[in-house]
Amino acid sequence: MAKASVPRVDPRLTRRSALGGAAALALASCRGGDPAPSQGPRAGSGAALLGSIIALEHAAAAAWAEIAGRLGGDGRRYAEAIRQREIGHAERLGGLVREIGGTPPEGRPAAEYARLFPQLRDESDALRFAGDLEERLVRAYLDALHSLPDVDQRRAAAEIAADESEDLAVVHVLAGEPAAPRPFVTGTL
């Protein structure tokens, strides 16, 4: 099946907002259809939220593989390193879900994710998509902090949020921008 291109949008919208919207839609659909982690853990244990973030991390790892394919040199090397970090985050969170008796969601085949991503025509598209992905990931962890009931879960969310913010800074640098442009990094939905 051919890959979905950037959805048709109001011509007044910028290409950046189109890519950003596509990133959000792709990630939302990637996790929206995943089953609940399991029947096991009690409500309020954090399992459902962690499962949702794990699904997001699986989608992000797949997205970084696509992004790496559009970059060369250092850009590709960092994209692959960040992809590995996303896989590591999913594994870490999966361990926390298992600790409370749950089953973390598994990733989907790469092709299933790929058809949901925007078409990346060049390096510039790839970096914009990467920036939007990382903004979304930062936001997911910041949002999760006040809903996770356990100290270890919150510590993991905080540590991974710092990782995602670093990843976002690397994207800035690869795009020729300052690594740390703002005093507060909130991410975006």
Partner: protein, 163 residues
């Protein structure tokens, strides 16, 4: 004013009230945690200010990072309100003199200080009781993590700190 600064200030009033109440362990513990962060932020602010004075950092980068640290300090002070019990640090740590001899030495020093600050925020975020302040505190931590990348760029090392 950025969204996060608004959130931080909005949470500050209620947080200051909560911290000032004499209730006990929880509140006292939150005060100590914010004071610890404020000490680290004060050291970072002092470090970037001194580095600029001594030409130990690129001017544009130094001014940006200094401005960020001032925003962080101001936000944390608002959170503490009248509950602050200790003066915040206004000078770099003792023994940091050699760090100001040039851009690379300073970047190494500042990177270590930023890493300790990020780790402190991670500790606080794991156990902090006032849920309204979790996101604003995390947004500061996330900015400090980006500072680490900026400093690694100065050093010419791996931007993710690998190897």
């Amino acid at each position: 004013m950025s969204a996060s600064r608004r959130e931080l200030l909005a949470g500050a009033a209620s947080a200051a009230l909560a911290l000032a109440r004499s209730a006990p362990a929880g509140a006292a513990s939150d005060v100590e945690q914010i004071e610890r962060l404020l000490t680290l932020e004060g050291r970072l602010e002092a470090a970037y200010r001194m580095a600029l004075e001594r030409d130990a950092i690129d001017r544009s980068l130094g001014q940006t990072l200094l401005a960020h640290e001032r925003e962080h300090v101001r936000g944390l002070e608002q959170v503490l309100g009248g509950a602050a019990r200790r003066p915040r640090a206004t000078v770099p740590e003792p023994g940091g003199g050699v760090a100001f001899t040039g851009p690379r030495a300073f970047a190494r020093y500042a990177l270590e200080l930023e890493a300790r600050t990020v780790a402190a925020y991670e500790d606080v975020l794991a156990s902090y009781r006032n849920e309204r302040l979790l996101q604003p505190l995390a947004s500061i931590m996330a900015a400090e993590a980006q500072h680490e990348v900026a400093l690694r760029e100065v050093l010419g090392t791996d931007l993710l700190g690998v190897g």
